[in-house]
């Protein structure tokens, strides 16, 4: 019997559940390796060669190379692990967060200062469909 996953109905959100964790194991462990300075250096020197040391899918590698965090998340990445790529790049967490929303970092920071993204219209994919039908 299929598991009940009501969180699949939340817009713009991927819950890192046991299934995503299974898919993303090597991607996330690659990210974890970036906590060591020597590994960060090797990754920066030749990103593709470093990624090829890991049994990751090509989709996961392309997600990392293009720094497309939404693509990484879809392929099993978890944001706390992916944040280590941003740290390696010298980027702030807010930069990374903005990059997933399609906003500029300035616009994203301004949204947060103004109280953040509203929950209205952001609760449920099915409710949004009903509302627009």
């Amino acid at each position: 019997m299929a598991l009940n996953k009501p969180y699949l109905d939340v817009p713009g959100t991927t819950i890192f559940d046991a299934e995503q964790s299974r898919l993303g194991y090597h991607l996330n462990q690659f990210c974890m390796s970036l906590m060591r300075a020597a590994n960060r250096q090797r990754f920066k020197a030749d990103e593709r060669a470093y990624l090829d040391e890991w049994p990751m899918t090509e989709e996961q590698k392309q997600g990392v190379l293009s720094r497309d965090l939404n693509r990484c998340i879809a392929a099993g990445g978890n944001i706390y692990f992916l944040a280590k790529i941003g740290a390696t790049d010298g980027k702030s967490f807010q930069y990374m967060a903005a990059s997933m929303t399609g906003m500029t970092q300035e616009d994203y920071a301004a949204m947060m200062l103004a109280g953040g993204r509203s929950v209205e219209g952001n609760r449920s994919i099915s409710d949004n469909k009903k509302a627009s039908a």
Binding site: C31, L69, I79, K84, M100
Partner: protein
Amino acid sequence: MAKITASVFTSHVPAIGAALDLGKSNEPYWQPLFKGYEFSKKWFKANPPDAIFLVYNDHATAFSLEMIPTFAIGTAAQFAPADEGWGPRPVPVVIGHPTLAAHIAQSVIQDDFDLTIVNRMDVDHGLTVPLSLMCGQPGADKPAWPCPVIPFAVNVVQYPAPSGKRCFMLGQAIRRAIESFDEPLNVQIWGTGGMSHQLQGPRAGLINKAFDNAFLDRLIADPAGLATMPHIDYVREAGSEGIELVMWLIARGAMADINGGAPPRLAHRFYHVPASNTAVGHLILENI
């Protein structure tokens, strides 16, 4: 016998630690936030515990995907601040309380909660930022944290996290464990993380002030009812990372009123948006 004197609840945003470590706490962006903790630092000095039982979560620091325990209790003599990619925070090593921690582990496991006993673990911002907020930033004149700390790490990174109900019941088991320890220690229990925030995907940046303030109201006055809230409500209303709030129910479950005692006294309440991507909430509840 040991007793729980108070519970403290606070968010543990990494940017708060960075602001303190880089001397930015007087900047206009951060001033309103740190003002909300001025009372707390005075309160902590006036009510110093012998030990803190600190409920927090690891953020892919000590635990990689090789293994993530649902509940992990630190029984070591000390815990080093972790390098989270920007170098370790310049704060003191966290001194543990191995005898109390071992006692709690044995009692709570026999009370049907399957804790993982951890003897070697670096601690990340989830643990050290609340210490900075409550105890002040240790400087050269204050090279140690004020008291021993038992780190208690809860998995809220890899779904499913434990339910609010289970966390609330775990808090009750922790209270029984602490109160059966033979030394006359004053112990505080802290619940950290939250409040509303989402760090991932196109919905990143979500904040829900109405939810957060209702959560604070209910945590004070209706914790048993609040504990029945399902995970999906946290995700929908407080963002995917808002689920950290289940950890507050562990600390709340350890308070005396849950065991038939008097309701706690609300010593302090504070709420502020934003700290980086996150809503910050803070409560101090005293057993009377």
